[in-house]
């Protein structure tokens, strides 16, 4: 199956893979919906806030921004529904003179958005939307089935590749050891000599090889990896249970840490993107776009001398705004962690320091002007409060607060 687009859960895991034909079918349903109801625009997005397909007057709307906001909105709506014991809420906002929006979850992680103007009656639209929803559900069910099959075969293929590589690796190890020792000892240098059962030895070797590829994790699980590595060569049968437990525990902790890291990274991504947009908007009130861009570039370039993640990721959009491209930032962070033997959690810490440094440098200019300073504090404060709970949970609160530091005048310090 040739997947072109994936549907992700709110925490970024791939849930459904869609091929060209399925994306085309979804687009057809959306276009059809717009044509038959006179709706202006419709869009299917995933819970991570990414656009899957759209129909209608696509050019008239900033679909990516709408998708990101809508996904966040639906997440709070779901929380409200849960509080009231409802399975799900469909959301509708209305404006008598301008535009109306209807938003509902199609599947767990797919959200349908329809924008319509005052000419369209909602009663008629609602009936038509039900039909579109069931069509979309059919497509997504089929895609989900295909995804399960595709992922199962992919994991089979990966397993086979790992096993092949391992065999090669074992062959090479045996050769090296054979050349170093006497021929008799060389022949004895086999997996059986680890003192671990064959399956466990294989699992441990796989785990150690994996950690070698991901230095950031190896640093974090230094003791565990060292213990497992040594267990392969020590031949101590009494250690077997200990090794098994270490392997299981390390796997479990690794999964937990990976999730935590991913959540942190995503939280930082959405928070700082909004901080940057707010800052950009306020800066444009004070200077021309050209000056603002120059200031931006200078601040990003100054974020760090080596492994500057912000400079690697900051990009100017065609519409004049600035975005932080977190794909590039993530790559740079991994490179830095490898080079400096840092764990990835500290990598996120360094990323936050760089983000704070560049945004603080920019906001320092604005702090000179009382009105702009006030505006910036207010818009950042709003964004911060929107994310406050999540930041607290992920222990990111204090780093995000750092950003407000240059904005506070000594005279305004409240008395403790």
């Amino acid at each position: 199956m040739e997947a072109t687009i994936d549907i992700r859960t709110a925490d970024g895991n791939v849930n459904i893979l869609l091929d060209d034909a399925q994306v085309g079918a979804i687009r057809e349903v959306l276009v059809d919906l717009c044509l038959s109801t006179m709706a202006e625009f419709s869009m299917l997005i995933d819970a991570a806030g990414r656009v899957v397909a759209q129909g209608g007057e696509v050019a008239a709307f900033d679909s990516e921004a709408i998708a990101a906001l809508a996904a966040g909105d639906l997440a709070t709506t779901r929380q409200l529904a849960r509080m009231l014991g409802e399975p799900e809420f469909a959301l509708l906002f209305q404006h008598e003179k301008q535009k109306n929006l209807f938003m509902t979850a199609v599947e767990n992680d797919a959200i349908l958005i329809v924008v319509f103007d005052v000419e369209t009656t909602f009663g008629a639209l609602r009936l038509r939307i039900r039909r579109s929803i069931s069509q979309l559900q059919q497509i997504l069910h089929q895609a989900r089935k295909n995804t399960v099959v595709a992922l199962a075969s992919a994991s089979d293929a990966t397993r086979r590749t790992i096993e092949e590589k391992e065999e090669e690796h074992e062959g090479e190890t045996a050769k090296v050891e054979a050349s170093a020792a006497t021929p008799a000892a060389g022949q004895a240098a086999t997996a059986a000599q680890t003192g671990l059962p064959e399956q466990l030895a294989m699992d441990v070797r796989k785990a150690v090889a994996w950690f070698e590829g991901f230095k950031g994790w190896e640093v974090m699980f230094k003791d565990e990896v060292a213990f497992m590595r040594n267990s392969l060569s020590r031949n101590r049968p009494e250690e077997v249970e200990n090794v098994r437990m270490t392997l299981v525990r390390t796997r479990a902790r690794l999964t937990e840490q990976k999730r935590l890291l991913e959540a942190k990274f995503r939280m930082v991504q959405s928070l700082y993107q909004q901080f940057l947009s707010a800052l950009h908007a306020v800066m444009l009130k004070a200077w021309t776009a050209e000056v603002v861009d120059r200031a931006m570039k200078a601040a990003f370039a100054g974020a760090g001398a080596k492994f500057n993640m912000i400079n690697a990721g900051a990009q100017k959009k065609p519409d004049g705004g600035w975005v932080l491209e977190f794909g590039a930032i993530g790559k740079q962070m991994v490179l830095m962690c490898h080079a400096r033997e840092m764990n990835y959690q500290d990598g996120v810490g360094e990323l936050l320091r760089q983000l704070n440094a560049s945004l603080m440098a920019l906001s320092a200019f604005l702090a000179e002007n009382a009105r702009l300073r006030e505006e910036l504090i207010q818009s950042w404060g709003r964004v911060f409060h929107h994310y406050a709970e999540g930041l607290k949970t992920l222990d990111l609160e204090s780093e995000a607060l750092e950003l407000f530091r240059p904005l506070v005048r000594p005279g305004q310090m409240p008395k403790a």
């Binding site: 906001l69 709070t76 407000f404």
Partner: protein, 167 residues
């Protein structure tokens, strides 16, 4: 902009309470909440005990703010109303003033039209009461000069010990 802190005098509180009671009865609603956009509850009536009102109103406020932001992206300039349609219960949000929102929880058996009608009738009175409260809060904020006017980040300011330019 949400103010630093809100002081509600007992007369205002009674006024809000009686207005929400009458709205609840006339519209056949299950419960009503009037909240500040920063998530603080100004007044509420008949919220089920199982629901933590503070958390509920914080969620309502953030949901309203997120949807308002979404509406701006669509070019709506005067955003006011949201309707959440559930299987058995619905929520209706109506903006009372720049800083406050009225939220009505009602059953599926009740008509949205009825809820909307009585909300619209109650809103002018509620808006007046909210304006009186806000005015009082502004006056209080003026007295405590030196505190940041952007009350929503008061905690942030408090956590800072370093003077400006300390970066």
């Amino acid at each position: 902009m949400p103010t630093n802190f809100i002081e509600i005098r007992s007369a205002d509180a009674e006024l809000l309470d009686s207005e929400l009671r009458s709205l609840c009865a006339r519209s056949g609603a299950e419960a009503v909440v009037l909240l500040d956009l920063s998530g603080a509850v100004l007044s509420f009536h008949r919220i089920p005990e199982a629901i933590d009102v503070l958390m509920f109103s914080a969620l309502l406020a953030s949901n309203f703010a997120a949807t308002e932001e979404l509406s701006k992206k669509l070019g709506v300039t005067d955003f006011r109303v949201i309707f959440h349609e559930g299987k058995k219960q619905n929520l209706y949000f109506d903006k009372v003033s720049e800083e406050s929102v009225l939220v009505v929880l009602f059953k599926d058996s009740n008509a949205l039209g009825r809820v909307r009608l009585f909300c619209e009738k109650s809103i002018p009175e509620l808006a007046r009461a909210v304006a009186a409260i806000t005015k009082g809060a502004e006056a209080a904020a003026a007295i405590t000069q030196g505190r940041d006017a952007a009350g929503s980040i008061r905690e942030i300011v408090e956590s800072l010990k370093i003077p400006r330019g300390g970066d």
